[in-house]
Each structure stands twice: as structure tokens, then as C-alpha cells.
């Protein structure tokens, strides 16, 4: 390992020398305004994509669909609206961290975030950070991380936003957001309710999606107050109450039902000095589920985990070119469930980040982290990254890191099988990125290699019950390409965005591609606007995936590739400085593609959605 670190350092060094000698022109770095400063200041060598407010507000489908059609992230969705889990770069859903305003919200029970329990109406910005980020974001940030941020606007304003949606399968979606601010005080409050029968027809079969109805209510409230010129107090809150029937497969009907009750609250006090920033966060996160195998029965199983988090960030600017940051993080987790009693655990971590920007063309970051946990030893984590601007049009990004994923409550405590001898999964990776940009064009190419060991897998044992073990090793490598083009002719605006990823992800013992990792995934979208009219077309190609470890072809072992396309039209009925009313219509799966995302769980046929969006 030491050798690879030295090698990496060597590469970084030689590159920085090249960069310094060749660079002559000066260009200002693109400014992305983020409230999670680490994304802005400590990720220069990473591929970071921002989906801002306007993209989020245009999306009137699920969060899953938004990311499926607009990023390299691959989703496994157990039928529309059901459990949906993301993955990056050939890793799995529990190796993908989901970060809400700087803190991880992956379930402590299974290590994943179900994207159909997140509502984009109550989020101002989504940031996708490809590649390992455990040093900054902790367990699970191996393939990449997805950041959900709420922003507060301290300028004098009052904005209200109402959306009404009605669509196929009797789907209703209502949302209201109010956003207020002045120089000292700002808040936004949002509420959203979705209800759907979700009884779509299975194309080419005489079946419909039975037992798939869902509804959920999400609330969000964020407040900020300047106590003095330097001191800001912020309060963030989100809650989600969801009830879903879990649909069956084409071969087996289902009677089950799943209820989510999640909430997260965070209080933050930050003090901004001339050369330092200090932020203290206290957060309380609660996840709870009830699972009814038979929705008509009184019997159910449940699980819940409460997390208390204390976090302190301290940033200090040593000079114009050098800044350091420390993060101290303490977590106390307490669980309770039908299958694992009432365990608890503690975790403490200390992180040091160093950012060196010798000139405006070079950004270098060096970061380390050590976790101390009550159940097991954690490895020392590190990451290094660099960005080198060779010209106005070309930037090279490079990063290397060691990341980890800790065993979940289920892995440790589930009865039977829970294994207290587990150690965290650990992973090394390197990533090389190129960014070519002109006013109208942005081209990005990233290539990476990730090697992960001590993968936790549940296996049946001699004693007859399943237990998780640190057994498998895997590696993945691949390439991600993104091309974005924006063109304006008079009042006509055209925007083209595209992503393609090639992913090889193999079990190193069998040299077989891991299940549910497509070799190829691509999406393109084309948006056009003229005066009050706008339209978009988006298209997704998802290559074939294996559903079993044998890597065999055929319906029992793999899923066919598919192409899905959506079309949307929007017209501004009212547009004044104070009022805006939009009427939109969306057609999803316009070509009626027959496809499955998870084996034997067909996805919806062509469907329609109409939206009224009023801003005042």
C-alpha cells in the first residue's frame, strides 16, 4: 500500500510541476454556491455535478427518475414508487452515501437510502459527487455521494410556490413552499403530498401492477438567524411519512405493506471570522419502519434507529494559499426492532483537511480521517486530490482515496445471523478527470479504478441460517463521459446534456460481473425554449444486467437492455414580475417500452402528467 501512496504522491507532484511551468493565463474558478463548504472548497479534484433549483422544480416525476435521466447514477427500483436504491461506478447502494446538509442519512439498518422516500420539492439543490468521499462524509461514500442541500437566502424577499399535479394511475401531487428572508432572518417551509394508485398495466401481459399504491407526506422547515455580524443560527428539519403497498412480481402477487416514518432535525451555530469559520452542529435523526407481510393482518415487524450527532467544523485560513480544516464528529446510535433487540453503538471521528492553492491554476487537497467505533476497528482513511488548469479550456482533475463502509445494525445484530466479528469494508480508488470547456460546450471524461475488500455478504452457513461475512473482494473500473452544449439563437435557446458510463465491476474470486451493474448506461436530454414556450425530450439507455452471479443469459439470469424516453411541454400562461403561472404536460415512456429494472417487476407503460405551477 505504501508504494501506491508514494506513487500517487509522485504523480501528483510531477503533475503540479508541469502545471506550474506551463500555465500562464489566469482564469477565475467557477463559483458554485453551496452551503456544504467541503463540496466547494475541498473537492477540486473530483467530478461534482450540481442540479439546481430550476432543474429540480421542472421535475414532476420521482427523484429516482430525475437522477436516472440526468446523471451516471444507476438505480434499482422494485417497480415504480417502490424501494429504489442508487449506485455509482459499479459499487452497490450501501456504498453510495446520501448526505443531507452535510450529514449522512443512509439508513443505519441496511446502510442504504431509499430514493422513493425523498422528495425534491423540499430540497434546493442536489449535488452529485462521483468517487470516494469517506474522509469527508464517512461510511458508505465509496462509489460516490449524493448531497441534498437546503439553502437560506438572506435578502429581502417573500416567495411562494404552489404546484398541482395530476397524472395517470390516479396520481396526485400537491406541493407548497414559502420562502422568506431579510438581512437578519430567513426561512423556508415546504409541504408535499403524493398519492397514487400506481396500478399500471404490465405491457404484453394481461396483468396490472396490483398492490402497488402509495402515498406520502413530507415536510421541510429551515430557518436562519444572524445573531451578530459573525454568528448565524440555523435550524433544518425534514420529516417523511410514507405508506406503500409493496407490489409483487409477474409470477407472485403480494399483500404486503411498508410504512416509513423518518425525521431529521439539525441545529447549527456558525461563527465566521476573518480568517476562520467555526460551525457546531447538533442533529437528531430518526428512522422507523413497519412492515406488514399481509396488509390486512394485525401482525407486523418493525425497526428503528435514533441517531444523535454532534459535529464541529473549524476552518482556518493560514495564508492566501493555504487553509486547514478540522472536523470532530460524535454519533450515538440506538436501535430497536423485531429482529435485533435494542442494541446501541457509538462512533467518533477526527478529520483533518488541508487545502493548498499555490496559484489560481492549481488546487491541491490532502485529507485524513480516523474513526473510533464501539464495535470494531476502523482503518485510517485518506484522500488526495488536485485540479490543474492548463488553459482556459482544459482542466485536469485527479484524486485518490481510501474509503470504508461500516457494518450496519442488520449486519451486526440481526437474529439469527448477526455477526459481531465483522470489520468495515475498505476500498482504494483513483480517478482521473478531464474537463474541456468553452462558452457553449462542456466535455468531461473521467476514468477510475476502485478496489474493495472485506465486502460484507450474507451467506447461508453449515448451521442452516444466514450470516454476514467479510468475504468477497471486488474491483471496478470504467469511464464516464459527459457532453453539455448550450446554444442561443435570438430568442431560441437549446440545451443538450448527455452522460455515458462504461462500467466493469467484478468479483475478484470468480472474475464475473457483479449483478445489477450495467456495462453501458447512457442518457441524453434536449431542452428547447422560445419566449413563453419550452419543451424537453430525454432518453435513457440502460444496458443488460445480470441478475445472478453466474453471468448467464436468459430471463432467469439477466435483464434485457432498454430504452425509455420522456417528453415534456411547458407554457407560461402568466409572467409578470410578481406572478408566474406555468402549465406543463409530461409524457413518460412515450414509446411504450416494455422494460424491467429489477427482475420480474415491470415498469410503467406510457403515462401522462399535467402540472400547474404558480409562483407569487
Amino acid at each position: 500500500m505504501k508504494q501506491s501512496i508514494l506513487f500517487l504522491l509522485g504523480v501528483l507532484f510531477s503533475l503540479s510541476i508541469v502545471a506550474q511551468t506551463k500555465l500562464d493565463s489566469v482564469q477565475k474558478l467557477e463559483e458554485v454556491v453551496l452551503n456544504d463548504v467541503k463540496l466547494n472548497q475541498n473537492a477540486a479534484g473530483f467530478k461534482v455535478t450540481v442540479l439546481n433549483d430550476s432543474i429540480l422544480s421542472k421535475n414532476n416525476s420521482t427523484f429516482t427518475n430525475l437522477l436516472r435521466f440526468n446523471s451516471n447514477i444507476y438505480f434499482k427500483e422494485n417497480g415504480y414508487g417502490m424501494v429504489s436504491s442508487p449506485s455509482f461506478r459499479g459499487t452497490n447502494a450501501s456504498q453510495t452515501a446520501v448526505i443531507w446538509n452535510g450529514i449522512s442519512i443512509n439508513s443505519q439498518l441496511n446502510g442504504q437510502t431509499d430514493f422513493n422516500t425523498i422528495n425534491t420539492n423540499n430540497i434546493n439543490q442536489v449535488v452529485i459527487r462521483n468517487g470516494g468521499g469517506s474522509v469527508q462524509y464517512g461510511s458508505g461514500a465509496i462509489g460516490g455521494s449524493i448531497h441534498l442541500d437546503n439553502t437560506l437566502d438572506f435578502s429581502s424577499h417573500l416567495k411562494n410556490d404552489v404546484k398541482l399535479n395530476y397524472g395517470s394511475f390516479n396520481t396526485k401531487n400537491v406541493s407548497f413552499v414559502t420562502d422568506y428572508g431579510n438581512e437578519k432572518f430567513a426561512f423556508n417551509i415546504g409541504i408535499n403530498y403524493i398519492d397514487s394508485e400506481n396500478d399500471y398495466k404490465y405491457l404484453s401481459k394481461d396483468q396490472v401492477n396490483e398492490n402497488g399504491a402509495f402515498n406520502n407526506l413530507s415536510l421541510s422547515a429551515n430557518l436562519g438567524y444572524f445573531m451578530s455580524d459573525k454568528d448565524v443560527i440555523k435550524l433544518y428539519h425534514q420529516s417523511f411519512l410514507g405508506e406503500r403497498e409493496f407490489s409483487g412480481t409477474t409470477a407472485t402477487p403480494s399483500k404486503s405493506k411498508y410504512e416509513d416514518r423518518n425525521s431529521r432535525s439539525m441545529l447549527e451555530w456558525s461563527r465566521n471570522g476573518l480568517s476562520y469559520t467555526s460551525a457546531l452542529k447538533v442533529a437528531y435523526i430518526k428512522e422507523h419502519f413497519d412492515f406488514f407481510q399481509n396488509k390486512d393482518s394485525e401482525f407486523f415487524s418493525f425497526g428503528e434507529v435514533s441517531t444523535l450527532l454532534l459535529k464541529h467544523n473549524f476552518d482556518y485560513k493560514l495564508s492566501k494559499t493555504l487553509s486547514v480544516k478540522s472536523i470532530l464528529d460524535y454519533n450515538y446510535f440506538e436501535g430497536e426492532g423485531s429482529s435485533f433487540g435494542e442494541p446501541n453503538r457509538r462512533a467518533f471521528s477526527a478529520t483533518g483537511l488541508l487545502q493548498y492553492n499555490p496559484n489560481k491554476k492549481v488546487n491541491l487537497g490532502f485529507n485524513v480521517r480516523q474513526d473510533v467505533m464501539s464495535n470494531f476497528k476502523s482503518p485510517l482513511l485518506f484522500s488526495m486530490d488536485g485540479a490543474f488548469r492548463f488553459s482556459n479550456h482544459y482542466k485536469l482533475k485527479i484524486n485518490g482515496s481510501k474509503n470504508f463502509r461500516v457494518p450496519t445494525f442488520n449486519d451486526l445484530y440481526w437474529q439469527p445471523g448477526g455477526n459481531l466479528d465483522l470489520v468495515p469494508e475498505s476500498s482504494y480508488q483513483v480517478d482521473l478527470g478531464h474537463v474541456v470547456s468553452f462558452n457553449w460546450l462542456k466535455f468531461q471524461l473521467n476514468t477510475y479504478y476502485i478496489s474493495t475488500e472485506d465486502l460484507i455478504q450474507w451467506q447461508p452457513g453449515l448451521s442452516g441460517f444466514w450470516s454476514p461475512q467479510n468475504i468477497a473482494k471486488s474491483h471496478s473500473y470504467g469511464a464516464e463521459v459527459g457532453v453539455d452544449i448550450t446554444k442561443t439563437f435570438n430568442k431560441h435557446q437549446l440545451k443538450f446534456t448527455s452522460n455515458y458510463s462504461y462500467t466493469v465491476s467484478e468479483n475478484l474470486e470468480t472474475n464475473k460481473q457483479l449483478i445489477y451493474v450495467p456495462f453501458h448506461k447512457a442518457n441524453v436530454s434536449l431542452a428547447y425554449s422560445f419566449n413563453k414556450f419550452s419543451a424537453y425530450y430525454q432518453h435513457l439507455f440502460n444496458g443488460s444486467v445480470f441478475t445472478t452471479a453466474d453471468n448467464l443469459k436468459g430471463s432467469f439470469y439477466s435483464l434485457e437492455p432498454y430504452d425509455v424516453a420522456n417528453l415534456g411541454l411547458n407554457y407560461k400562461i402568466i409572467k409578470t414580475t410578481k406572478n408566474e403561472l406555468d402549465l406543463g404536460i409530461n409524457i413518460s415512456n412515450i414509446f411504450n417500452e416494455i422494460y424491467q429494472n429489477v427482475a420480474f417487476r415491470p415498469m410503467p407503460n406510457r403515462n401522462f402528467n399535467i402540472q400547474l405551477h404558480y409562483k407569487f
Partner: protein
């Protein structure tokens, strides 16, 4: 690689047998493609049926799908054979009736079943063990099925977690492994009047067989340590004339065998990847095993004509069916069968 070899082998043997067909002077009409072979049921998902010919030359996976172009639900629990029909029991609540030699679907029993486990036959009637709501300890039953109409005509309430069922001279024997919980009884149902009687055995009774003396042999796996109430596994011999216990041979603490198969005077069971043989006359459990096996997850066991068949189940890939020669303890064949291979039957 193994698979390629099998397919080449299979292909060549097929060609061979085809070319040899003309020479064969057997006049009897074959009953179907899946006659004279071994049937392996696999839990999936989706569930499927694998077929291996008796001469071990041909393997076909996903037989039911290939014949009927539809899938069985999850999870395929067991298959019962009666006359020229097979009854495929899926715990999502259906029993699919097929021709046992062609596997063509003939019908379905879907009403009156909740979480069916096993099926046994007595004339025109079948008895199906059913957990009902597995979280409810008091609603378990035996469904009585009229085989002429394929309908559940009545139910017989029984204790928690009825598992395997066996009919012997108008009596139905039901082992109660306990479903989501554990249990320690064998229910005896008088099929004439549906009255029941219970016999207390070791915890988690599962596999049952009638030995050459006409006694019922029951393997109870015992509660595992994680239940917080660990009990010893045992093999109980029951006199079927009066339901009395002849003997109960108990295993050492911490030993929990789950598989047993009976053939010609010997009960074979698997414990920690060792195969043991218990003779009818034995008064103690064997001290040494017959031979060792190499399975990741021994999940199904059957014995016939000095050959032992063992399903090594994988739930993430194809499973392996191993064939052992009992006399020498050597593995003679292996086959890549469907996902979650569980039960092995002889057709």
C-alpha cells in the same frame, strides 16, 4: 467451464441417443420428456424445476417455464406426486397441477390456501400443510383438497407451523417445525373423521420417513442457540399403531442436523457436511460418518439405489446438485441446477 463440458456432454449424448433410437426395440410409448429422471425443485426466484435423466446424461433447467412459458411464483416449497400428476406447492399461496411426465399445466389450486408447505395424498383427497399468517401462532391448518375439482373443501386446525405431511393407512402425520417460531409436535389426523392427536417429539421436527419395520422416523433439528432456548436435536422412532415413542436418539449439544432421507433400511442425515447412516436396528446414533461432502449450503437430500443426491443451494447463482456413490463416498457427478435448489424427487 464445467458448464461447457456438461453441455457438450449432454449434446453428444443426445446425438448419440437419437442415433441409437432406431436400434432400440422398446415398444412402450414414452409418457413425456421428463419421465425416468430426477426432478429438482428450486426456490428461485423465480422458482423453477430442473430435470436430470436417470442415466445422468441430460440436464434441463427451467422445465416448467420451457413447457408453459410462464413462471411459478416464489417460493417453490415442495412438489407432491400422485398418479400421473405433480402438484407444485408455492408458498405465496398456489398449487400448480401439472402432468408429471410432460410438466404441462393442468390446473391451479389458489383459493383456500395462504402459505402452503407440503402436500400428501390419500385417494382422491390431498392434505396440504399451511401456516396461514406466519406471524399468527393460532391459525395454522391442514387444507383438505378434492383432487377431482382441485378445490379446498375443508380445513383442519392444527398447532403452530405444520411442515411435512405423510399419509399411512388413513392417517395423516404432520411434523410441526414451527414456522416463524418453533414447535415440538407431530400431529396425527384420522382422515376418516378429521380428529387429531399429537405426539411430543424434539424441537423443530421436520423430515419424516417410514422405515422397513413400518415405524415412523422423525428428525427434529432442535432449537439453535440464537433462539435463546437451545435444545438438542433428535431422531424419534414412533410406533404407528398406537402413536407411542419407541426410541429417541439425541444429538450432542450444538448439533442441529436439518436433512434426512430414508432408503432401504437406512436413514441418511447430514450434519456439518458429513453424511451419517442410521440403520433401523441401531440403538445409538452412529459415531462415525459414512463420508464427507463439500457443500456450501446443504439444502436438499434424497437417496436412491446406492446413490445419494445432495442439493448445494446458492441463492445468488445456479445451485449444484451433487451425486455421491454411497458405497465409496465419492462424488460421481454434479449438475448446475436452478437458483435455490431445495428438494429432489425421482420421477
Amino acid at each position: 467451464m464445467k458448464k461447457i463440458i456438461y453441455s457438450i456432454l449432454t449434446l453428444s449424448l443426445l446425438v448419440f441417443s437419437c442415433s441409437n433410437d432406431d436400434d432400440l426395440a422398446t415398444p412402450s410409448e414414452p409418457l413425456g420428456d421428463y419421465e425416468n429422471g430426477i426432478i429438482v425443485s428450486t426456490e428461485g426466484g423465480p422458482s423453477s424445476i430442473s430435470y436430470i435423466s436417470n442415466d445422468l446424461s441430460t440436464l434441463e433447467n427451467q422445465v416448467y417455464f420451457n413447457v408453459n412459458n410462464e413462471n411459478l411464483g416464489v417460493y417453490l416449497q415442495s412438489v407432491g406426486f400422485n398418479g400421473n400428476k405433480a402438484y407444485i406447492v408455492v408458498d405465496a399461496g398456489t398449487i400448480t397441477v401439472v402432468n408429471r411426465y410432460t410438466f404441462e399445466k393442468l390446473g391451479e389450486i389458489s383459493t383456500g390456501l395462504s402459505l402452503p408447505r407440503y402436500i400428501a395424498f390419500d385417494g382422491d383427497t390431498a392434505y396440504v400443510s399451511d401456516w396461514a399468517d406466519p406471524s399468527d401462532a393460532t391459525d395454522d391448518y391442514i387444507a383438505v383438497v378434492d383432487l377431482n375439482s382441485n378445490t379446498v373443501t375443508s380445513t383442519i386446525a392444527v398447532g403452530e407451523g405444520p411442515e411435512q405431511v405423510l399419509v399411512n393407512s388413513s392417517k395423516l402425520y404432520v411434523s410441526h417445525k414451527g414456522g416463524y417460531s418453533t414447535n415440538n409436535i407431530v400431529t396425527v389426523v384420522n382422515t376418516a373423521d378429521s380428529t387429531t392427536d399429537t405426539i411430543i417429539v424434539g424441537s423443530k421436527p421436520d423430515e419424516m420417513a417410514i422405515n422397513n419395520q413400518g415405524d415412523l422416523v422423525v428428525l427434529s433439528g432442535g432449537n439453535e442457540s440464537w433462539t435463546g432456548n437451545e435444545t438438542q436435536a433428535s431422531i424419534t422412532k414412533i410406533d404407528m399403531s398406537d402413536n407411542s415413542i419407541i426410541s429417541a436418539l439425541t444429538f450432542a449439544d450444538g448439533e442441529h442436523p436439518g436433512l434426512m432421507a430414508y432408503d432401504n433400511g437406512m436413514a441418511y442425515y447430514v450434519l456439518n457436511n458429513e453424511v451419517y447412516g442410521l440403520t433401523d436396528a441401531a440403538t445409538a446414533l452412529p459415531a462415525t460418518s459414512l463420508f464427507s461432502i463439500t457443500a456450501s449450503y446443504a439444502y436438499g437430500l434424497s437417496v436412491k439405489n446406492n446413490e445419494l443426491f445432495l442439493a448445494d443451494a446458492s441463492f445468488s447463482a445456479n445451485s449444484t446438485l451433487f451425486v455421491y456413490d454411497i458405497a465409496t463416498g465419492t462424488e460421481t457427478n454434479s449438475f448446475a441446477v436452478g437458483i435455490g435448489a431445495s428438494k429432489i424427487y425421482f420421477n
